[in-house]
């Protein structure tokens, strides 16, 4: 349980330590990529809770989602379509959906006496 949290902290320390500066021009694509990766993480957490977790899916999903989101946003800018808005919308919705699912699962586990795995809405 603590290992992923330690990983997150470790990553944060690395990110603070490296003096790599993303050009401001690409900050927008970077933000979409971050959103996509967060969605992947929450998707992974949801999968763990649902006992459907697959490490390969998480890893590939994480990187491809982030890269594709950034690429699509970039392409959208090239084409004159605000595709990054679409990415933000799509990943945002999924993020909240995943969070809601995670919440339900946790609640479902803590309230075991409440009809087993029955969903609480």
């Amino acid at each position: 349980m603590w290992l992923p949290i330690l990983g997150l902290l470790f990553g944060a320390i690395i990110g603070s330590a490296i003096s790599f500066e993303i050009p401001l021009l690409y900050a927008k694509y970077m933000s979409v990529a971050v959103l996509a990766s967060l969605d992947s993480v929450f998707g992974g957490v949801k999968a763990i809770l649902e006992d459907k977790f697959d490490g390969t899916i998480l890893l590939t999903g994480f990187f491809t989602n982030a890269l594709l989101a950034a690429l699509l946003a970039y392409l959208g800018d090239r084409l004159g379509v605000d595709l990054h808005m679409a990415a933000v919308f799509a990943f945002g919705v999924r993020l909240f959906q995943n969070l809601a699912d995670i919440r339900h699962h946790i609640l479902g586990k803590t309230l075991k006496d409440y009809n087993g795995h029955k969903r609480i809405s």
Binding site: M1, L3, P4, I5, L6, G7, L8, L9, F10, G11, A12, I13, I14, G15, S16, I18, F20, E21, I22, L24, A27, M30, S31, A33, V34, S37, L38, S40, V41, G44, V45, I48, D51, F53, G55, T56, L58, L59, F62, A66
Partner: protein
């Protein structure tokens, strides 16, 4: 499901998430401070603040320049005061006779054959002052405020003194001033020269382009006389 099987991929992913998040935080901080990312209203406010600041700085600069100008002017005024004082001092020195003086004028020369008394010299000097002489000297003795023209006696002979200095012939009175006016003042009919002619004294009067009068040797010192302000 085995715990370890999910922990490792999640950890890897979270490491990357951590890196991405911190990078994005840093980038976003830079974006927010970048001018091109500011909202128009904020930019307007910033421009207004900056132009206000600029105006106040310009005003401050104006004030400082005014002060500088005032200081310069007062400095120049100080220099002017000194110059005025110096020119006053020069003028007063000429009046007092404490300074050599040059200029056009007139010489009145008495030869040893002219039977004159010291009073004749006094009359001539008075006449010259009256005719507008600005400075005078007798035989290189400057006539000053307290000059005394008198006579002395020695071995049955009389001599004329100026400031207690015996005058030897020829006695030359030098007067600086308008030479024509001085000449007219002396030679007007019934004037001093006519009177002297009665006594067979015929001084030579010559107008000079350039005369040099010496300075008196000792300055006037006032021991008891006070000016109006100090009484």
């Amino acid at each position: 499901m085995d715990k370890k099987s999910w922990q490792i991929p999640v950890t890897i992913v979270l490491i990357f998430v951590g890196i991405l998040l911190t990078l994005q935080f840093q980038t976003q901080t830079r974006v927010l401070t970048d001018l091109s990312a500011q909202k128009t209203e904020h930019l307007i406010t910033m421009v207004r603040n900056l132009s206000d600041k600029r105006t106040s700085l310009v005003e401050e600069l104006d004030d400082i320049e005014t002060t500088l100008r005032e200081l310069r002017v007062s400095g120049a005024a100080g220099v002017n005061i000194i110059e005025n004082l110096n020119s006053d001092l020069r003028r007063l020195s000429i009046v007092n006779g404490t300074r050599e003086v040059f200029g056009p004028g007139l010489t009145v020369t008495f030869s040893e054959y002219d039977p004159i008394l010291y009073t004749d010299l006094i009359l001539i000097i008075n006449e010259l002052w009256a005719a507008g002489a600005e400075a005078m000297a007798i035989n290189d003795t400057r006539i000053a405020l307290n000059s005394i023209i008198f006579y002395g006696e020695e071995n049955n002979s009389m001599y004329i003194t100026a400031d207690h200095i015996p005058l030897s012939f020829p006695i030359v009175i030098k007067a600086i001033g308008n030479s024509n006016t001085l000449d007219k003042g002396l030679t007007l009919p019934g004037g001093i020269i006519d009177n002297l002619a009665l006594y067979q004294a015929f001084p030579e009067i010559e107008q000079e382009e350039e005369l040099a009068l010496p300075a008196i040797e000792k300055n006037l010192v006032f021991y008891v006389a006070k000016d109006v302000d100090r009484n």
